[in-house]
Symmetry: C2
Subunit: 68 residues, 2 copies
């Protein structure tokens, strides 16, 4: 679950803790999402988008892996 949350968060000058509070989750959840270790819910993805002023595609889009 690679994504661009960390870069976008730093761009708007928020710490993990601040972003977490804005979107209503814990700091640990933000950390794990940035590390790609969680598969976040759509709702949480949208909240993060709003907080850092980006769209879903900008933060979370990944091209399909070439078919097996």
């Amino acid at each position: 679950m690679k994504n661009n949350v960390k870069v976008a968060r730093v761009q708007v000058d928020l710490t993990q803790a601040q972003l977490a509070e804005q979107v209503g989750v814990t700091r640990q959840t933000i950390s794990l999402i940035e590390k790609g270790k969680y598969n976040p819910s759509l709702k949480l993805c949208l909240e993060i988008c709003y907080a850092v002023h980006k769209t879903l595609d900008e933060l979370f889009w990944v091209e399909r892996e070439s078919d097996a």
Copy 2:
């Protein structure tokens, strides 16, 4: 969790069952997502995007509700 999955699915001429099989979930899951009763995971959202040839923003973006 309003979204545009149903319209996009019909455009590529897939039934709920066919889409479900392509993305690796059950038909019930697709039905509930289309009905807006599930908050799907990012991974599943991406799989659906690939199957119907749309992006996250096209299928799942919703503007932030005006702040309270």
